[in-house]
């Protein structure tokens, strides 16, 4: 995981649930096809136009709903740089760490970013800069345990390391 992540902002609202991030009807598709339908019910352009490194900024309770991990793996497969939200649903939050997808909880983010702005996120410092407008805002830092898992690229990399070491 890079400590600094720079990308274009895609904005979403409150309560973006996992059924919307990876709709149920595409769940049985292989990930490489499923990812092309990510967030389709609310923004059909997103999966087609998103570029590697782009950053999602959303409102409250991002990723609420089922524990489906595809909500995270699809975003990873699209090479999303990070997700910044006012708040995250618990399982989505855990899954993001487990899959090595950087996330930042930041209450003010939605008011400081417009869709298409350029942002730079410092995962360790938990800060995000609006490069287009020049503001720097502070989010809630992740605990060291979480940063360790993120840095290793996810909990499975950690597992492999532990198995090798034992």
């Amino acid at each position: 995981m890079a400590t600094l992540i720079r990308g274009k902002i895609w904005k979403f609202g409150d309560k973006i649930d996992t059924d919307v991030i990876t709709p149920t009807k595409y769940l049985s598709l292989p990930l490489q096809e499923m990812k092309d339908h990510t967030l389709e019910p609310i923004n059909p352009r997103f999966a087609r136009e998103v570029r590697p490194g782009d950053i999602i900024v959303a409102g409250r309770n991002f990723g609420c709903g089922s524990s489906r991990e595809t909500a995270v793996t699809a975003l990873k497969a699209l090479k999303i740089g990070a997700v910044i939200a006012e708040s995250f649903a618990r399982i989505f939050f855990r899954n993001s760490i487990a899959q090595g997808l950087p996330i930042l909880t930041c209450l003010q983010a939605p008011q400081y970013f417009e869709e298409g702005d350029e942002a730079e996120l410092d995962v360790k410092q938990a800060t995000v800069k609006n490069v287009s407008q020049g503001n720097l805002i502070q989010g809630i830092p992740l605990a060291q345990d979480m940063l360790d898992i993120l840095e290793k690229g996810g909990i499975l990399s950690l597992l492999k390391e532990k198995i090798k070491g034992s």
Binding site: E69, I91, A143, G154, L156, I163
Partner: protein, 428 residues
């Protein structure tokens, strides 16, 4: 006075006690990060949808402790497509390959009901599952919580996982529930009043005279739905009812777990349910809740009674009491999905299934059924369903142009008769 059996200096909530014990500490505080040993790890189809591939990818040969892993199939049973049949086939192989001994296959029912009925859920246990409604186990005083597939692979290999010790909030529930108003109405009311985020990352303890009066089944409904208000755990402190219920299942003495009198709660919400009307969650979010008198006319095409939220015997009994001697509206399909084989058998033995059949309901096999929209009972565009399930998101039960309203089993049954969402209390 200091409790001689107590090693901590501070009072602890149920969540704190369980996480302290599981992490080998005398005490833990909210906000701390700990690594805890897992007592039970539960996998449903998640095993074949990611967990076993992750295990193989990491080079894991066997689960860390065969006595602490429980697996079954419940989401897609019997397999609706060749693809899911292949996935199930792979899971049966995974079970053997990884040395998983406690495997119930597809005949027993929904994971959360089955794990309780089979005695895996005991007060004080720390249980993780590949299902978001794992907090259901809090109804028995167990710390149950949902995790993703990669984390489950880690647990199956190592038997441990990191946790942030959650703050605990309390819902103190008082007042007598009106006849035909159920615990589902109480938890929907809480979701509507305090929002779907009130318990985000937190542990809940449901307390108060009304919580104490609830049956274990009714408590399971509320613990189950605590997921929908963001909770990590949703507890009822084990009492004599819990102990008696579990003793009957296990045939063993049960050790309860109690909250300390001086435990610290982040917040206490007092909920008076006196005069509470049946509650309905309007599409497309669980906290978009209205009292039945404010809902207006909603014509339905389908009604679903079942799921890990409300597919237990008392739920079926309530619906059967309303449906007895009546028939489902000709424009409505009523699907009845018992939560487990045990529930199904008891409903059969007590004549409930006959009542459903005479009412023209369709009785489905114990499973997650239509609840998650990948199996039976899907909705067409423009259709509306009232269901005793736990989510009403867009596309949850089939078409994205369909609507799902959440309600209690009583409301589902009464609505199925009348062809529109109605107040069940007229059937009291």
């Amino acid at each position: 006075m200091k409790d001689p059996e107590r090693s901590s200096t501070m009072g602890m909530t149920l969540a704190e006690k369980i996480l302290a014990r599981a992490s080998g500490r005398d005490e833990v505080k909210p906000g701390e990060f700990i690594t805890a040993e897992i007592d039970i790890a539960m996998c449903h189809e998640g095993l074949g949808m990611g967990v076993s591939a992750d295990l193989r990818g990491a080079g894991v040969k066997k689960v860390w402790n065969a006595k602490k892993v429980v697996c079954l199939l419940d989401h897609y049973v019997p397999a609706p497509t060749v693809k899911t049949a292949e996935m199930h086939k792979q899971i049966r192989k995974d079970i053997k390959d990884f040395g998983i001994e406690q495997y119930y296959g597809e005949s027993e029912g929904v994971c959360h009901q089955v794990l309780v009925e089979k005695g895996h859920v005991l007060p004080g246990r720390l249980i993780v599952g590949t299902d978001s409604h794992t907090p259901t186990y809090g109804a028995l005083g167990a710390a149950g919580t949902g995790i993703g597939f990669a984390e489950m692979a880690y647990v199956l290999a190592r038997g441990e996982l990191w946790f942030r010790v959650p703050e605990t909030i309390k819902f103190e529930i008082s007042g007598a529930l009106s006849p035909l108003v159920m615990s589902k109405d109480v938890i929907l009311y809480i979701a509507g009043k305090y929002t779907g985020e009130v318990a985000q990352y937190k542990a809940i303890e449901f307390t108060g005279p009304t919580a104490e009066k609830l049956s274990v089944a009714s408590r399971m409904t509320m613990s189950n739905m605590s997921t929908e208000i963001g909770a990590k755990f949703g507890f009822f402190e084990p009492d004599e009812k819990t102990i008696a219920y579990l003793k009957e299942i296990t045939g063993q003495p049960i050790t309860p777990i109690k909250t300390d009198a001086d435990a610290v709660y982040e917040q206490t919400y007092r909920v008076d349910v006196t005069g509470l009307e049946p509650q309905i969650a309007i599409p497309y979010s669980v906290d978009n809740v209205k009292s039945i008198s404010e809902v207006g006319k909603v014509v339905i095409n389908q009604a679903v009674l079942g799921s890990c939220t409300n597919g237990r015997l008392e739920d079926l009994q309530m619906a059967a009491d309303i449906l007895e001697g009546r028939v489902v509206h000709p424009d409505v399909r009523l699907l009845v999905v018992p939560a487990s084989k045990t529930v199904y058998k008891r409903a059969l033995e007590s004549g409930l299934l006959n009542i459903f059949l005479d009412a023209n309901a369709i009785i489905c096999n114990p499973s997650c059924g239509p609840c998650f929209g990948q199996h039976m009972g899907q909705l067409a565009a423009g259709e509306t369903c009232v269901a005793s399930i736990n989510r009403n998101f867009k596309g949850r039960m089939g078409s994205e142009e369909a609507k799902v309203y959440l309600a209690s089993p009583a409301t589902v049954a009464a609505s199925a008769i009348e062809g529109k969402i109605v107040d069940p209390r007229r059937y009291a």
